[in-house]
């Protein structure tokens, strides 16, 4: 139904891509997104870093020398063979807290990222597919409002509402405040996708709208979804730490954010307990760096020009 010049599905119509097409007759298979991601050295490094964290988190009880909540150590002990990084002011082992803290960060990253991605996916997809209709107007409006509402007071309200600040609350709060950007991006994406002939073809096959959105279009966005997820997970990890530092974190368990909060509240710096402050921030930064490195790989998906990076 269009009279535009022929384009390959994966090609965005620019000449370099056309070039690639001409060169690569490799059975015409579009690159699997994970292969593309893996092709980036940075992404590989990132995967290794994140894997190490995951392993440490999963096997925390084996790795950590002590129970992170065991407060029976001498408070304010320096680094020693028993307390690798010393102890806190209330007598907990910093190293063990650090190791167990990875669990919360990764958990929040995984589920916060997942939830945010799902919300943004559903809203963005439906909105984009229904572009120009009232459904889209409403969903876009909601998305835009969510984008401009200052997140912090909203988060505080949400957190204040629950008696228990558990990790799932944090996951929920992070997801609910961070989906909007992704939804907008996915809306834009689906608008370009929904005019593809195969979508029209699906209509002619008698498919329902839901099925078209989620069974026909969505599988073609797997790379975008992956990208969105990595981004959202990275954001969630940072957000968890930020919330904890504000004193809004999960107060039941140990995370790097709560460690920083405690350290700061206890004046760790003036007491010279710089390890207590320095290390949680550093491990957090390294994890997020790992995630960002994976994102370098993910960037290759949306921007094929980046693929020849060393």
């Amino acid at each position: 139904m269009t009279t535009t010049p022929a384009k390959d599905f994966m090609a965005e119509g620019d000449s370099a891509q056309a070039l690639t097409l001409e060169q690569v007759s490799d059975a015409g298979r579009p690159d699997r997104w994970w292969e593309v991601v893996w092709s980036s050295r940075k992404a590989r490094v990132g995967v290794v870093i994140v894997s190490v964290y995951v392993i440490v988190a999963v096997f925390a009880p084996l790795v950590a020398p002590h129970d992170p909540l065991d407060s029976t150590f001498t408070p304010l002990a320096g680094a020693s063979g028993d307390n690798w990084l010393g102890t806190t002011t209330d007598g907990r082992d910093i190293a063990s807290q650090l190791i167990y803290g990875s669990r919360i960060s990764l958990l929040v990253g995984l589920f916060g990222g997942l939830l945010a991605t799902i919300i943004s996916l559903v809203i963005g997809m439906v909105s984009g597919y229904a572009e120009g209709t009232i459904v889209d107007d409403i969903l876009s409006f909601v998305t835009n409002v969510a984008l401009v509402i200052p997140a912090l007071p909203l988060i505080i309200t949400l957190v204040a509402y629950s008696e228990v600040r558990g990790v799932w609350l944090i996951v929920f709060v992070i997801a609910i405040t961070s989906w909007a950007g992704g939804a907008r991006a996915k809306r834009a994406q689906i608008i370009t996708l929904r005019n593809r002939d195969f979508v029209t073809a699906a209509k002619f096959s008698g498919e329902s709208t839901t099925r078209i959105i989620f069974r026909e279009i969505m599988p073609n966005m797997s790379s975008l979804v992956a990208a969105a997820f990595v981004g959202a997970a990275t954001g969630a990890i940072g957000a968890e730490a930020g919330l904890a530092v504000l004193g809004l974190g999960d107060s039941q368990s140990v995370s790097w954010g709560t460690m920083l909060y405690q350290a700061n509240a206890q004046g760790a710096i003036t007491q010279g307990l710089w390890l207590w402050v320095f290390v949680p921030g550093l491990v957090l930064a390294i994890l997020i760096t790992g995630m960002s490195f994976i994102n370098f790989g993910v960037d290759l998906l949306s921007n094929p020009h980046l693929r020849e990076d060393a």
Partner: protein, 329 residues
């Protein structure tokens, strides 16, 4: 015309939604502002003196009537430009309170954002042009790592290293002994006090611009018009600047306008860490004190900032990208 009507309609509708949420969000929080104020004066968990709480309620005069009535009153006052009196800075008007903090944040944030934008864009463009060079790797890897650092953590480290250990910079406040105004001692103090907060903001922010610029630039370098420019035998400098960077800049510029609107949120943590007398600290205080009028107005200010920045970005895009001009008219 229709385009602008639509834009404006959206602007108004969003504004209304935001105003409503701004009204609801603080009120949905548990806790009574009068109690909180008294508690602040009395101490964290001291037994509250009911007489004082009562006096405080009488003073703040809020809230009475049902939520719907309050909402009506709130909208009415808002339309008349009356934002009310701050609770925690009673009896000052919210606008006066904000007025005092406004320029501190605006200057800090515009300067750092502008600086990080310029630095980010220049580094990003150069990294893309010299793709896969040592410069490129250093810039991309370095900025990635710096960008992942948490602002509060950087603030702590900066405070520790430059404030406490080395004592090069003051650790809190916006100035010390001078009188605010355009006089040399004040400017000098303000600059030295702003240095660490600015540095903390600067370390984290350029990464987005660097990588964004680098990526769009690389994408643009594959475009036909770049290949044609090369085929035309134009010097690298011209191709890089007039053709590649000029085009790659477009998304960044609109991004910049949007970022400017939304920086208040980002400034909160840093301002608090350095006790910087700006809007971010004020918002933190307002939240803590349940200072509804102040919080509402700050949220309104932020959202209006974002919305206006959105509009400006759209208009700016029209100016910068001739393709967009026709679509808009």
């Amino acid at each position: 015309m229709r385009y602008f009507a639509r834009k404006f309609g959206f602007f108004v509708a969003t504004l209304w939604a935001v105003v409503t949420l701004n009204f609801l969000i603080p009120r949905l929080q548990p806790g009574d502002p009068a109690e909180i104020m008294v508690k602040k004066l009395a101490g964290k968990d001291a037994q509250l003196d009911p007489a004082q709480v009562r006096a405080m309620r009488a003073m703040l005069g809020a809230p009475d009537g049902s939520l719907v009535q309050q909402y009506g009153t709130y909208l009415g006052e808002l339309v008349r430009g009356n934002f009310g009196l701050s609770y925690s800075y009673y009896p000052f008007k919210v606008t006066e309170v904000i007025g005092q903090a406004f320029w501190w944040t605006v200057i800090l944030v515009t300067v750092t954002q502008a600086l990080s934008f310029v630095v980010g864009v220049v580094l990003g463009a150069y990294a893309a042009w010299r793709r896969n060079s040592r410069f490129d790797s250093v810039v991309t890897l370095g900025s990635t790592f710096l960008g992942t650092l948490q602002p509060f953590w950087i603030a702590l480290l900066l405070l520790y290293v430059f404030g406490y250990s080395l004592g090069w910079f003051p650790t809190s406040g916006g100035y010390e002994e001078s009188t605010p105004g355009l006089n040399f001692p004040f400017v000098q103090e303000a600059v030295s006090h702003s240095f660490l907060p600015a540095l903390a903001l600067l370390i984290v922010t350029p990464i987005g611009w660097i990588l964004g610029m680098r990526n769009t630039m690389i994408m643009n370098l594959g475009e036909d018009y770049i290949r044609l420019a090369k085929a035309k035998g134009l010097p690298d400098r011209v191709v890089a600047l007039k053709y590649a960077a000029r085009n790659a800049l477009l998304p960044s510029v609109t991004g910049f306008a949007l970022a400017l609107g939304g920086v208040l949120g980002g400034a909160i943590l840093v301002e608090q860490a350095f006790d910087y007398p700006g809007l971010g600290r004020l918002m933190g205080e307002a939240v803590e004190n349940k200072d509804y009028p102040l919080l509402q107005t700050l949220m309104l200010l932020t959202t209006v900032g974002v919305l206006v920045a959105n509009l400006v970005a759209d208009l700016l895009y029209g100016v910068l990208d001739p393709r967009a001009r026709r679509a808009q008219s």
